[in-house]
Structure formats: C-alpha cells, structure tokens
C-alpha cells in the first residue's frame, strides 16, 4: 500500500481524522519506544514516557510545521524522558540497573513471540544478553544529553542537524556530545575477543 508522509497524516489528523493519529503512533511507536527504553533503561518508565510523548504530540499537533515528524517527536520524547527521569530520581532511589517488572529491562517475555528472523540460539543468546547488559550499563553512565545524542545518531540514524533540532542545540554541540559519549563508550566497552586461537 502507498505510504503516506508524516505531513499527510498530520494534516489528516488536524482535519479531524483520528485514524491518522493511530497511523502515526504505529509508524513511529517502535522507534520512540526503542529510544525511550534505552534512555530510561526501564520498560515501565519507557512505556509511561511513550504515552506521555504521544499525548503531547496530540496536544501540540497544530504546532508541527515540518514534513518529517521524527526530530520533533524525539525532541518531545527526550524532554519527557529526561523530565520523568529527574522526577523519578527525586522521589525514589531505584537503581536503574535493576529494571522493574522485566528481567532484562529491554527484552521482555511479551516480546518473545516477535523475535526477529535470526533468533539466536540459547548459547548465542547468553552471549548477546551479556553484550546487551554491557552496552546498557555503558549507556547509563553517559550524561543525559550525550546519551540522547548518541542514541539518536547511532540507533535511529538521525543526522546531526536533526539531532540538533531534537535536543534544541547547535550542530556543533551535538557533535561535541556525540564525541564525548563515544570516548566514554570506548573506555567502557570491552575489547572484542582476540580472534581465532
């Protein structure tokens, strides 16, 4: 089926077409949730922020003037996640490395049935889980803005300009955030195994 642009859907939604909003949620939901899970490192918090993000999109739909929704959406998601995280931090001292309600914080049993085609086998899965834990732990150690910039660039392939738009800063600041984040990650990530014996 022909893919409508974000602008088409947003226009339709502003014109009173509720289905268009659902289409937007479905289109960008996976990216937003993926981003929020990595930002918050907690599935429950990520889902709360997810709802809040789209609530804000709904409320401020008319202020969206561009064609590509992603930078704007991630801007809202970033602000929501950081805001919620700060609130959480203020009210409860829950370690982020111990996710609530989900064994590994990201790959919950409910997703088990939607594993991608190259589903790893148990021994590979163990290795992959370990790798995920390491990456998540390293990401957690980054300051918010650096983490957000890196995630948006590395995982969501946003350009530096789009990230600048999302984080409300200049392109040079984005580059600095990303560089610092990568430097820290380089120190935190383990060296890959040294080849075949």
């Amino acid at each position: 089926m022909t893919q409508l642009t974000d602008r088409n859907l947003m226009d339709a939604y502003l014109a009173g077409e509720n289905g268009a909003f659902e289409a937007l949620v479905r289109r960008h939901g996976a990216a937003v949730l993926g981003y929020l899970v990595k930002m918050t490192h907690n599935k429950d918090h990520a889902e709360d922020s997810f709802q809040e993000t789209f609530q804000k999109v709904h409320e401020h739909a008319a202020t969206f003037t561009g064609d590509n929704l992603k930078p704007w959406l991630f801007k809202i998601a970033t602000n929501t996640a950081i805001g919620n995280w700060r609130k959480e931090k203020k009210h409860a001292a829950v370690s982020l490395s111990v996710p609530v309600g989900c064994p590994d914080g990201e790959h919950c049993p409910t997703l088990e049935s939607t594993l991608p085609a190259n589903t790893p086998q148990p021994h590979e899965k163990l290795q992959l889980d370990e790798q995920r834990r390491t990456v998540r732990a390293a990401l957690d150690k980054l300051p918010e803005k650096q983490r957000a910039a890196l995630i948006l660039n590395y995982y969501h392939k946003l350009t530096y300009h789009q990230i600048a738009e999302s984080l409300d800063c200049s392109v040079n600041t984005v580059k600095t955030h990303i560089f610092r984040a990568l430097k820290k990650m380089a120190a935190l990530l383990p060296n890959p195994a040294g080849g075949i014996e």
């Binding site: 022909t2 642009t5 289905g19 479905r26 709904h58 202020t63 589903t119 390491t134 590395y154 995982y155």
Partner: protein
C-alpha cells in the same frame, strides 16, 4: 609519522571531523597499517552496541492505551475541530503560530516580516470566509449527519492524496479504523432511508440503471476497502506463494458501486484478486474489475448491488514474500539415552503488507505453478502488453475486462485451494482440512496438523499479527523422553580423521512421535549436564523432511571428546609373482595397524569404525585386546571393499586393537578369487539336522506313479533318496514329508530326479537364514476333475517363512 590517536579515530569513524581533517586522516590511514588496524579494532569495539535493537515494538495494548488516553484528554488544538471550518481555522491558527515563530527569528528582515504578516492575515481571512460560506448549512446541524460524516472523508481523503494522485483514495499501510471507513462509505450512500434488516436494506432492481456509470472521476464515488475482519494466510513455502483470504464488510449503496483496491509496494499478484459476497449473493453481482489507465497498482471492481448497507465479502489473492522455516531444539538427558524435542516455526513476512489478527497455515510439499507470483506482482499492469497472455484473451490494460479474469484467477486459486483448503489439486484429493477461526489469546500457540496426500498442512492455533518485515517464532510441538541412540562414526573417507557424532531416532509412536511428518529444518542439540539443568551444546544439523515411520539420523558434526588414532606399525610386500620375462606381475601388500580409541567423556560411547581398503581383493586379521565380552569388538565385512568394527568404549578410557590387512595386487588377485571360491565351498554345509535352518518337504501328487522314487541332490550330493506314496497320510494327496537340514548361507544347485516317474528338475536356490521349500511330483495322464492332463514333472518352491498345507 604521527599516528592517529583514539580521539581522531573516533572522530573519523563517526564523521565528526571537518573536511580537511578528514582528508588528512584518510591519507594517513591509507598509508598506515597500524592505524588501520587500530581503526578496525575501534569499530569492532563499537559494534557491540549493535546488540541493542534500535526499535522496540510497542504492544497493541500500549498503543490502544495511548490512543484512548489522547481521546479522553483532547488537545486544545484538536478539540472540537470536527467541523471543516473549525479545522481550517485551527490550521490557520497553527500556521499563524508557526508564522509568529518564524517572525520572531532575528534573521528575517523587518520589511519581509511586515509583508508576510499582512499577506498571511489577508489570506487567512479570505480562506475562512470562503469555507465558512461553503459550509454554512452544516453549522446548523447539531447531530451527526451525512455531511458530517462526509467531511472527514473528503477532507482527509483530499489531504491524504494531495501528494499522490487526485483520482483515488489511498489506503495507508496501517489501515485506518472502521469509523473512518464507515464514514467514507457513508459518503456514497443514497439518502433514501428505508427499513434495514441487520443493517441491510433490499431495493428493487428497477431502481438500478441498466447501464453502469463510467469509471469514477473522483474519490468521492468510491467505496474503499475497510480493514478486514478476519484474515487467513496459507503459505506454500516451496513456491514463495501465499494464499490470502480475508473477510470485510463493505458498505454498499443501491445500484452501481466502484470498489478500489491498491497493492502498491506489496507483492500481490493482481491477476489473482477475487471478490465474493458472503451474503446476499443473489442481490450483489461483481461485474468486472478495471485497471485505470496511467494509475499503477490500482484495481477497481464494479459491483451491482440490490441492497444497501454493510455486506460481508471475501477477498482472496496470491501474494509472495511470506515464508516459514522450521527449527528444532533437542535436549538430551545426562546419559544421552532420551531427548526432549521442541519444534518451532519461524514465519517471516516480507510481502510489503501487514496481516493483522491472521490465522496462519503452513504447507509442506511441492506445488506446481506456471508463473511465479513475485513476477506477476512486479508487472506494470496486471494485464497488458508487457504480460501478453493470448490464452486468457486479455490484451489491454486500459479497458474494463470481461469476467474471464475472475474465472482465470479462480481456476488457479482452486488449484491451490485444493491442496490446502477445500477441494482437489487435480481431482485426487478430497476430505478438506477444516478452516479454524478462533478469537482471543491462548498464551502459547500450537500448530494444528492435518494430513493431505502429498502435502501436509500445519495450522497455527489462534491468530497472529504478521507485521511486514517481521518474523514470528511459533512453537510447533514439544515432545519429551524420545528414546535416542547415540553413535560415533569413524570413516576416514567420509568424515576425515575426526569421529563424527550421530543421534538417531524414529518418527513413530514408539519414539513419542509419528503423528505428523517432520518438516525440513535446522536442529540444535544440547545435553543436560546435571540436576541443575545446566546445558552443554552437543551439535547441530539439518533435518530433511521426515515422513511418519521413517528413521532420523542426525549428524552432529565432529566429536572433540572422542578420538580414533590409527598408527601404521608395519608395511611390507610378499608373494611376488613373475611373468615369463621375469618381471613382477603380482604381489601382496601387508599393512599392520594399531588403532587406539580414546573416550574422554564421562559416559560410555558406542563407536563404529569403517575401514576402506581401496581394493576389492583383501583379507583382514584383527586382534582385540578386550578382556570381557562387553568390551569386545564386533567385526563384519561391510561391503566388497570396506571393513566395519563396532565397539563400546568405557568412560574416560582407551581401547586398543590391531589389524593386519593383506591386499592382493595384480596377478595375485586371481589367487585371491580362487581362495574366495574355495572358501565359499568350504563354508557350504548341507547336513541333516532336526534343528536345522532349512526344511524341505517332498510330496507325490500323482496317482499315476505310486509310489514314486525321488532323489534329491544338492551341489551334486545326494541328500534324499526315497519312495513317496500318494496316500501316505491320512488324506490322499496331502502327504508332504519333511526333511530338516543345517545349511550355511550361500547359493546351492538342486537336482531332483525320478527314474520311475520319468522326471528331472534342475534349479538353484539361495540360503540366507531360515527357509522352507517344497518339491512336488506331478503326473496326470488323463483329464482329472477338470484339470490336466499333466506330464510327469517336478516343481520346487522356497520361501523364508513356514509353509501351510491345505
């Protein structure tokens, strides 16, 4: 040379350098291997980040919650904006807001700000006035009415297609909810409000014009396909073919309806599209399908309807891009005598479309298609010059096509439906599998399996969402405690120097299986190490399609904990022969080996060692060092040039045996053959033995010569010489006298003769194990009881099971 430090390498790898720096870094990297290696190592380190997925699919419940929450807590900009004027007003406000944002930016010159402000204000006022006047009557309507319903459709429809084409309503990849579809279809309803039964009103045929309308000029005249209520996909893996069936309720107006279907960016074969009303079949007639000129991937059905309202339809078509593969996980118990086997099916959707709430069925077996669906799906037009098909009589894409299209596609559909659903593939099949519909969530899904004669149909229990570009893994079966045999095989020629591990079982009820064939797939096998259920990986293999009652032998690859080491101890030649000129024309090669089998595992293992001699003329002597029968080697000649040993090796121990092989070369091969013949003769024994393995019955079936003298010779040796009376038993002609012999396996010549009876029989027979045979003497000079005359003769019959006499 100044090497690039880590900072520079990071900046280079992630494109954070400016153009000059990047160029310099690139030049250095081209010349410096160390830095290239450092860069590669850095990239490898960052590759660990790929372990996290970018996206996380939100659960449907979360999306529903989000949407519901937004509806409950409407935003200020959208609230009350159902009316077109209000919508436009909001958009004007929005644009004004964005304009004010724009104007607040310092880089806009003051004269442009003023110009933009005045222009925008004037345009906004003019637009609002025009739209307000156009829609003035609707503002007086308090309750929802057709115009209200019509508005979002036309408005959003126009908006939706603004960047596509002006002639069609597009269906988004994610279907919009039913309320929108209802709104769209309401737009084409007649204003006549008569009595509806179950949402449908029947109208008189007289009210419908005889001539259908010309193709619709605008979207407003179209009925658009709503979201399907139920969908079923049947995936024929072997042909990249999927049959899709879905049911949808279409809201028809009385008279002529155009229904639009789009398949852009999907792998649908448009020639296979079929639409069938599931109710009011006598009132709803699918007249034709047309493919509008200059519009790709769009088909429009013309439907003549004598009813008004929602009518359920079934749409079927073929698509490609869906596939499935099976895989298995086996877990053996600690002593590797039983295995738990779990089967899974991965269903992948790359068809370009989402299938929600779909029943999924999988076909194992080959189908025959003249065209590939993928090819059909990628044609410019469903029919036409680029897909000229004279047989079908369809030659142009610009006109409405006769109804043949439907028959054509139905024929092909029926072919495949036959294998999977309801009919016959070529008339041979019957007894169709049932189509299951199930609503709700079961938790763990199961796969229903139904046998077809040449196919096998697996129906996945319940329904699934098959999202485009996603793969779902579904459990197929879970069987515990399957008895298995574990065997190591050493065969230098086939597997190399390393022993290979095999696990075998049978797809039958004794092995807790046997209900269905097992589809081809990959299997990984693990072993439980202890009570804590710690697993160790044993090996992996590919399973071919395994019919019921067939054996399965899984090659799990080289075994690292078992070793076989043959060592050549001695090698020599002897028994040379010479031709008349004194040249060597024959000799024997003699090789002596010591073979050590090391089992470092904590359980005993069975191992089969196959030794290829490389010649047919060989002899072998082996020496077993075993001290107990349990450890002894079993040897047999496997075939004409291979020897095979079987043995059990105790845990964490070694077993050693030796063998000497004599290989006859050239002229000496004749000697070998002679020895073989002699050996065969020596091995032959044919001696009387009450408990022997060969029972030979002899009988006189003739009154003409009574008694008859019969001598039986086996390989020239007389084994029976007696007179046989036809009335020797209680009943005449029913006396078969048994003789028992002990006979070694081999081929034997048989001669039976009778001087008085004037008959001779020469034949041969083979003894492998236990056998029973009968020699009958026949002689009927006259016609007797309707049979005969029969000349004097013997018959001989042999079989490997006892003979019953009547």
């Amino acid at each position: 040379m100044n090497h690039l430090n880590e900072d520079k390498l990071i900046q280079y790898a992630f494109d954070l350098l400016d153009a000059d720096e990047r160029h310099a870094a690139q030049q250095h990297l081209d010349a410096c291997g160390d830095c290239r290696n450092a860069l590669a190592a850095l990239k490898a380190k960052f590759a660990a980040m790929d372990a996290l997925d970018a996206d996380e699919i939100p659960a449907d419940a979360l999306i529903t919650r989000t949407i519901t929450q937004c509806k409950q807590k409407p935003g200020t900009e959208v609230t009350g904006s159902r009316h077109p004027v209000a919508n436009v007003w909001h958009r004007v406000i929005a644009s004004c807001r964005s304009r004010s944002t724009l104007l607040s930016q310092p880089n806009i010159p003051p004269y442009r700000r003023v110009w933009v402000q005045w222009s925008a204000a004037a345009a906004a006022v003019a637009l609002v006035c025009v739209l307000f006047l156009q829609n003035l009557p609707d503002t007086r309507v308090k309750k929802p009415d057709p115009m209200w319903a019509k508005h979002p459709a036309s408005e959003s429809g126009d908006a939706l297609v603004a960047k596509k084409d002006s002639d069609a309503i597009q269906i988004p990849a994610t279907p919009l909810p039913d309320d929108r579809m209802a709104a769209l279809s309401t737009a084409v309803r007649s204003d006549k409000q008569a009595a509806f039964t179950n949402g449908v009103r029947v109208v008189s045929a007289d009210e419908i014009p005889d001539v259908p309308p010309f193709a619709p000029a605008s979207a407003i005249e179209l009925v658009v396909l709503p979201k399907p209520d139920k969908t079923q996909v049947t995936i024929y893996n072997s042909k990249d073919l999927t049959l899709v069936r879905d049911t949808r309720k279409l809201t028809l107006k009385p008279g002529w309806n155009w229904l639009q279907f789009m398949w852009a960016n999907t792998q649908i074969d448009p020639t296979s599209l079929s639409l069938t009303p599931l109710s009011h079949a006598d009132k709803v007639d699918i007249q034709l399908i047309s493919y509008p000129a200059r519009l790709k991937d769009i088909g429009r059905w013309l439907i003549r309807s004598e009813v008004e309202g929602a009518v359920p339809f079934e749409i079927t078509y073929f698509a490609s891009g869906l596939s499935w593969r099976a895989f298995y996980m086996g877990t053996m118990n600690e002593d590797e005598t039983t295995m738990d086997l779990k089967g899974y099916v991965n269903v992948s959707n790359n068809s370009g479309q989402d299938f929600e709430n779909t029943q999924t069925r999988l076909i194992v077996g080959e189908t025959r298609l003249t065209e590939e669906i993928r090819t059909l799906a990628q044609r410019r037009y469903p029919y036409g010059p680029d897909i000229m098909d004279d047989k079908e009589g369809l030659i142009s894409h610009e006109i409405n096509y006769p109804r043949d299209w439907k028959d054509i596609s139905n024929r092909r559909r029926d072919l495949l439906l036959g294998a999977g659903i309801a009919g016959s593939l070529d008339g041979r099949y019957s007894g169709a599998p049932i189509v299951y519909w199930w609503d709700g969530d079961l938790g763990v899904k199961e796969i229903e399996k139904t046998g077809l004669s040449e196919y096998f149909l697996y129906t996945i229990e319940g329904t699934e969402d098959l999202t485009n570009q996603w793969t779902k893994r579904l459990p197929s079966f879970d069987v515990n405690d399957i008895p298995v045999k574990s065997l190591y095989k050493y065969d230098d020629d086939r597997y190399g120097k390393q022993p290979v591990r095999f696990v075998s079982f049978k797809n039958d009820t004794e092995h807790e299986l046997g209900e269905t064939p097992i589809p081809e797939g990959n299997i990984k096998i693990y072993r439980n190490l202890n009570d804590a259920q710690n697993l160790s990986y044993v090996g992996g293999s590919n399973i071919k399609y395994i019919p019921v009652n067939e054996d399965i032998e899984l090659n799990l690859g080289p075994a690292r904990l078992v070793k076989v080491e043959p060592v050549l101890i001695d090698q020599k030649t002897e028994n040379h022969t010479f031709d008349p000129k004194g040249n060597i024309d024959g000799w024997d090669d003699i090789e002596t080996y010591k073979v050590t089998i090391a089992n470092t595992r904590d359980i005993p293992i069975d191992i089969e060692i196959t030794w290829n001699m490389g010649t047919d003329a060989w002899e072998l002597d082996y020496v077993d060092t075993a001290s107990t029968a349990k450890d002894a080697i079993t040897y047999k000649k496997h075939d004409k040039n291979r020897a095979r040993y079987m043995m059990t090796v105790r845990p964490k121990s070694e077993k050693v045996f030796g063998h000497t092989i004599r290989k006859y070369r050239q002229k000496r091969i004749e000697v070998y053959i002679e020895k073989q013949i002699e050996q065969e003769q020596e091995n032959k024994t044919f001696t009387e033995d009450k408990n022997g393995n060969f029972t030979l019955y002899v009988s006189n079936q003739s009154f003409a010569v009574n008694p008859v003298d019969i001598q039986v010779f086996v390989d020239g040796k007389k084994v029976i010489s007696e007179k046989f009376d036809v009335n020797g038993g209680k009943m005449p002609q029913h006396n078969w006298i048994p003789f028992h012999f002990k006979v070694n396996p081999g081929n034997y010549d048989l001669r039976v003769e009778s001087k008085k009876g004037k008959a001779v029989l020469n034949t041969s027979f083979e003894i492998k194990d236990k056998h029973w045979a009968v020699i009958d003497y026949w002689n009927y000079p006259k016609v007797t009881g309707g049979a005969g005359p029969t000349p004097p003769s013997f018959t001989f019959n042999i079989q490997n099971k006892p003979i019953g006499f009547q």
